[in-house]
Symmetry: C2
Subunit: 286 residues, 2 copies
């Protein structure tokens, strides 16, 4: 029997009683509009933990004024069914006014990491993310919380935050789940027309190209970036925002020359029609 | 047998095991240099709780570059003895590098409340406070944490933060403890020369004046403020920073006219010699 709870205090009490029964607690924070990517997180949590909480909350503070907060897909009934199938114990799905008092004025901010890449294109986005994730982790008290690698920068920032604030939660990053043609699963994919849906596969194509080029001996980061960018710039219907290689721990640019075995991450953001998509791939230089 | 621990993780484990034994957990966060004010907090925690943690950590991030971080009194042995006398179960006294990783970059910030009064005179001070208090509360997991009313704005900000971030701790504010001549106890009082020590009682004098004036019928906030300020401006050796009446929940200025029964707080900050002192008094208009 899956519990569905909208009250933060009651959610805390449910989890606390599970902890006192000695169960390992896990949490999968989501904004709903669940897909197979979320499902894989919940499955992983179910394997690891004795008590699994999923949270469904479309957090207004992480959307910019020009972004898609109001039209973000809300599919609660289907979401709850997917949670049930994954064996979730408790779904926390609060109303906005239970999450933010009218005079709330506290923000959790991670410095530099929040200002680059997605942070540069979406000012304030990560402040909204880190603040709400702190709240969700303190309400749902997970020993482990599960995030998708799809939002690569987000999982990095959340890990930094959890370490810096001594939040007693281990952040587990789970692999990107892709459609059969390589498109990374995303709640925003449902915005795509069928033509755009086809075009959107070019992000995965560019990441595969980067992976191929990095595997070659003496590959040069700037050259790999350039080819990845070129491929996307040449694709009709794609408006590139960034396509870069970065250090996978710091997101700093790579040095001009890298030795064999150097780890990197390729990160892409682009608009396809009016839909903003992101994707990434971990790489090892050959 | 009092435990003394410098490791955050081990501290968390000690408290967690106390919680699992069903004990109510309390915490008294301090910067050491303990006096009777701190002692009263620890005594109150001891009365309320089954397991009491005190923290002793001179937090560098809440001191401005021109402030007294390096000369702030450090009296660990005497502090531990006082903790023992108060019946504290565990003292958490970390080194700075165990609290802040070299690449730490996460800040907890309370908005407007952190920018007025003390926040205006000590830029960044409350960001340091809220960040370290979040960390200390997450490490020591108290159901109740005890703060002195002496730092009136601080306890207000910490209460707001705890509510906004869903930190599962009740903040308990305890009365100011005063010397026999009215000077509020403070670790910084030991900076005062004997002449300055005498001068410093003028803060309490001004607060008593404010209390007296407010008690009169039809008292006007601006007039009370002015008399409080005048008294301090006329005291040789006192360099007034502010002396104001404010709403005790929001710290906003009071309206021009207030009705009988209106609550307020009188807040003073002043330098006596090179020592910066603060004091306050809750008031009710007559």
């Amino acid at each position: 029997m899956m519990l569905v709870e909208s009250c933060p205090q009651k959610t805390w009490q449910h989890v606390n009683s599970a902890r006192q029964r000695g169960l390992l607690t896990g949490c999968v924070p989501t904004m709903g509009a669940l897909h197979q990517g979320h499902f894989s997180l919940m499955q992983r949590a179910r394997l690891d933990c004795g008590f699994v909480t999923a949270t469904i909350f479309v957090n207004p503070t992480q959307f910019g004024p020009q972004e898609d907060f109001s039209k973000y897909p809300r599919t609660l009934e289907a979401d709850l069914e997917l949670c049930r199938q994954a064996g979730v114990d408790l779904v926390f799905t609060p109303q906005t006014d239970r999450m933010y008092a009218s005079d709330a004025e506290t923000t959790v901010r991670v410095g530099r990491l929040s200002t680059v890449l997605e942070g540069a294109h979406r000012p304030g986005h990560f402040d909204g993310v880190t603040t709400v994730v702190t709240k969700l982790l303190l309400i749902t008290q997970p020993e482990r919380a599960y995030f998708g690698q799809k939002d690569f920068q987000q999982q990095l920032i959340v890990k930094r935050m959890v370490r810096d604030l001594n939040i007693p939660t281990e952040i587990v990053t789970c692999p990107i789940i892709r459609e059969s043609d390589g498109l990374a699963m995303s709640s925003r994919n449902r915005y795509l027309s069928s033509v755009e849906r086809q075009t959107a596969t070019s992000l995965w194509g560019a990441l595969q190209l980067a992976q191929h080029l990095c595997g070659q001996s003496q590959a040069v980061p700037a050259a790999v970036e350039q080819q990845m960018q070129q491929k996307l710039l040449q694709t009709a219907g794609v408006e590139l925002q960034y396509a870069v290689l970065a250090d996978p721990e710091t997101l700093l640019p790579l040095p001009e020359r890298v030795s064999a075995g150097t780890k990197a991450v390729a990160l892409i953001a682009a608009r396809v029609g009016s839909t903003r998509l992101i994707d990434n791939q971990l790489l090892t230089f050959g």
